[in-house]
């Protein structure tokens, strides 16, 4: 590489990774036991899980606290900033591939599994013998074993939610511009609007789930349509929740006077994450709701 190498800061020993390892251990084993105990009276697994979450939250405070302190005291060079940026980009790429698995399942179900159950390709006899009544349509409102449901339309709440998320991406971009120009007032204002929009999206999403469960009979277990619908929108919703939390932390840090126009990796990573979540929603809107 041609750039001059500044000294690369290698942190000394740290307690936080091992705390995080114990936290993840508690979460994983706790979640495992919780799932196993879903039908039984004793539910101690959920306590292990909760303890794990508490440990991880403590770890995040401690770890990020260290990083912020080091960053504020000027230990980080330009080269380290590049490491962080590249690390975040690859992390987002891994998230893309996680969603790809579920989109893959959706496409396979729509293009192959459901049509074949209806007799497409060389499956005419199988369909005739196993489920002669079955109709291969999408959204699959009646499964081969007879579970029925309704399809979620794209007008109404989903459309409003799309507009909200797209707008929030734009407002966040304005906030970013404010950050780069060191204009703190518009930065705070646009970021605040973004947070309000993100929160509104989550409220409406919960509203939609309640509507689906109580009025439409569309649930997680109503066949492959409900499965893909809830897992895709559910994981997306979890990512929006995380994004709102991250942006809230960024907002608080900005109120405390952190970041400068040149040095604001934390804010930029949060903003990249938010835009990524937004793009996933657009794909969801097209492939889960409209088509």
């Amino acid at each position: 590489m041609s750039q001059a190498h500044d000294n690369y800061y290698v942190p000394a020993q740290s307690i936080w990774p091992i705390v995080g390892a114990v936290g993840l251990f508690l979460i994983a084993s706790g979640a495992g036991f919780t799932v196993q105990q879903l039908d039984s009276e004793q539910g101690w697994g959920v306590w292990v899980l909760s303890l794990g979450v508490v440990v991880i939250i403590a770890m995040l405070f401690g770890w990020f606290g260290n990083v912020i302190q080091e960053s504020m005291s000027g230990l980080y060079s330009e080269q380290m900033d590049r490491s962080f940026r590249q690390g975040m980009s690859w992390f987002i790429f891994s998230e893309v591939m996680f969603f790809a698995a579920f989109f893959g399942a959706l496409f396979y179900a729509r293009m192959i599994a459901v049509p074949w159950l209806g007799g497409a390709s060389n499956n005419a006899m199988t369909a005739e013998v196993l489920w002669p009544e079955f109709e291969a349509i999408w959204p699959l409102i009646k499964t081969p074993d007879g579970t029925t449901t309704q399809a979620m339309g794209w007008m109404g709440l989903p459309l409003i939610n799309t507009l909200i998320l797209v707008t929030s991406s734009i407002t966040l971009h304005f906030a970013h511009v404010g950050m780069e120009k060191d204009q703190r007032k518009p930065l705070k204002l646009w970021l605040f609007i973004t947070l309000v929009l993100g929160f509104a999206f989550l409220v409406l999403q919960v509203e939609e789930y309640i509507h689906a469960y109580q009025e439409m009979g569309l649930t997680l277990d109503s066949g492959i349509y409900g499965n893909t619908f809830f897992l895709l929108t559910g994981f997306h919703g979890m990512h929006v929740t995380l994004g709102v939390i991250i942006l809230t932390v960024m907002f608080l840090r900005i109120l405390k006077g952190h970041f400068t126009g040149k040095q604001h990796f934390g804010f930029m990573a949060a903003s990249w994450y938010w835009h990524f979540v937004d793009v996933v929603w657009l794909l969801l809107f097209v492939f889960v709701y409209i088509l």
């Binding site: 001059a4 990774p17 495992g32």
Partner: protein, 530 residues
């Protein structure tokens, strides 16, 4: 050159001696400490998974049920596979990457040292969960390491929930490790270390890291679907709800096929370092090696369904996956050709790393050829799920990946410890391993061609003699690995002090610029690479 290294040593001795005691290892952010922990963890898992293989071979020593219940036999094959893939081979490569990449590119450490510690320390916890599930009511995972639905959903024991979450942690560990490797290579190369000057081990790991980040999340996705199918009433893999059990295989092998290259590409890098060193020649065709590695990685994304020829795919799909799979033999052939061409007219000497590398080239190629046979769709109809498949992937994974890891350990052990291992004992380890691994796996080809199915605790009488031989080979191979442990311990505790460059043909920053024992922090100021 030497002046740089002198400055380096002084600097390090004064300021950064490693802390003492257990907490050094728990809290460390040092790439060498973390690399060592990965390697020891990997070896512990290798012995654990190996012990399970011994149970399998003991049961199969004679026809009929001898020692274990069929359900326990299934748990042994499953957990043996999971441990060897996720606990032995992958962590060993990550350990080697940690130790070697910063030294090879002239970096002070990995790019994200604290995350590096986290990537390692979540692994023992993940395997604690997996192993603990063996002792639970209903038993541990018994559906094969590929956990096909509906074996892992409808018919699985309840402990599948713990299996799912432990796989999640393994995945998080691999992804973080891979991000660290990729960022280190892209951002921390010393001035003048351009991409086409990178040692091939670094190149192969760069591409491996990309594969890991691309496919480990897909594994996370598919285990999540298994979890919801089993416990939350979804029907991704259930035709009655509009899903398809074959969908599981598609998603799993979309992860699974790049995964097998994740377990072999770093081997290619290791062999490409060792063969030139002991042939005292430059590597033949460096650039073609880089392109071949990248091609293999690219092709690995479009061949996954060759694991599924017997699931009743349309014939066009079978042909597409057959031809794509065969295409992989072209870049792989380029590699084998280059290694052989490197040795051509070289002044070859046969120290232990070279012996393992030579065995790798021959035995991995045998595994490659049997892979080529399996790639032929109509032929695979006969071989599918027989011991021929078991023979194939053990040739590429044991005498391929594991042999290359052994070669790497012997090759770089002097640099890690500053001491030389016992060459005689190491050669004993090599010859015992070489002979026993072939007694163990070669006859499996014939068992498979004869029709013996895999993953079954009993077999027809005509397979008895060959199975007895295979089992004897298995026990011998297992015992031989204890020699390896002895060599390493003997080297660390009382090996002869060695020089900065014990292999005269070796090349690279770690041999040229660092003292016999690489200091705790190698390149606090990056060296200039000409």
């Amino acid at each position: 050159m030497s002046s740089i290294s002198d400055v380096q040593i002084d600097h390090d001795d004064h300021h950064h001696a490693p802390p003492k005691g257990l907490m050094r290892w728990v809290l460390t952010t040092n790439h060498k400490d973390i690399g060592s922990m990965y390697l020891w963890f990997s070896f512990a898992m290798f012995l654990t998974g190996g012990a399970m293989a011994m149970v399998i071979r003991a049961e199969l020593f004679q026809p009929g049920l001898q020692f274990v219940e069929p359900n326990f036999f299934n748990q042994m094959t499953t957990v043996h596979g999971l441990i060897m893939v996720f606990g032995a081979v992958m962590p060993a490569f990550t350990g080697l990457a940690n130790w070697l990449i910063p030294m090879m590119i002239g970096a002070p450490d990995m790019a994200l040292p604290r995350m590096n510690n986290w990537s390692f320390w979540i692994l023992p916890f993940a395997f604690a969960i997996l192993l603990a599930s063996l002792f639970m009511e209903g038993g541990g995972p018994n559906f094969g390491w590929t956990f096909y639905a509906p074996l892992s959903t409808t018919y699985a024991p309840d402990s599948v929930a713990l299996f799912v979450f432990s796989v999640h942690i393994m995945g998080i560990s691999s992804i973080m490790g891979a991000i660290n490797v990729i960022v280190t290579i892209m951002n921390m190369r010393a001035p003048g270390m351009t991409y086409m000057k990178l040692p091939l081990f670094v190149w192969t790991w760069l591409i491996t890291a990309f594969l890991l980040i691309a496919v480990m999340p897909v594994l996370a996705g598919v285990v999540t679907m298994v979890l919801t199918d089993k416990f939350f009433g979804t029907s991704f893999f259930d035709a009655a709800g509009g899903g398809d059990p074959v969908l599981f295989q598609h998603i799993f092998w979309f992860f699974g096929h790049p995964e097998v290259y994740i377990m072999i590409l770093p081997s290619f890098g290791i062999i490409s370092a060792i063969v030139p060193a002991f042939s005292r020649k430059k590597l033949f065709g460096y650039a073609s090696m880089v392109y071949a590695t990248a091609s293999i990685a690219g092709l690995s994304f479009i061949v996954w369904a060759h694991h599924m020829f017997t699931t009743g795919m349309p014939v066009q799909a079978e042909l597409f996956f057959m031809y794509c799979t065969m295409l992989i033999s072209v870049p792989t052939g380029v590699k084998v050709f280059n290694w052989v061409a490197t040795m051509w007219r070289g002044a070859i000497s046969f120290e232990t790393p070279m012996l393992f590398a030579l065995a790798f080239i021959v035995l991995f190629t045998i595994g490659g050829f049997s892979g080529l046979m399996l790639a032929i769709t109509p032929v695979d109809f006969q071989y599918h799920d027989t011991y021929f498949v078991v023979a194939h992937f053990h040739y590429v994974l044991v005498s391929g990946a594991i042999f290359s890891i052994m070669a790497a350990c012997y090759f770089w052990l002097p640099k890690w410890t500053g001491k030389m291992y016992d060459e005689g004992l190491a050669k004993l380890h090599f010859w015992c391993s070489l002979i026993s691994v072939n007694v163990l796996f070669f006859p499996m080809h014939f068992l498979g061609l004869g029709g013996m199915p895999r993953r079954i605790p009993d077999y027809a009488l005509q397979f008895a003699d060959v199975n007895a031989i295979v089992s004897l080979g298995g026990f011998a191979f297992g015992l031989s690995q204890l020699i390896f442990l002895a060599v390493v311990i003997k080297c660390i505790r009382g090996g002869e002090p060695t020089t900065a460059k014990p292999w005269e043909g070796a090349e690279g920053l770690e041999w040229d610029l660092l003292p016999a024992k690489a200091p705790y922090h190698s390149f606090s100021t990056p060296p200039e690479v000409k």
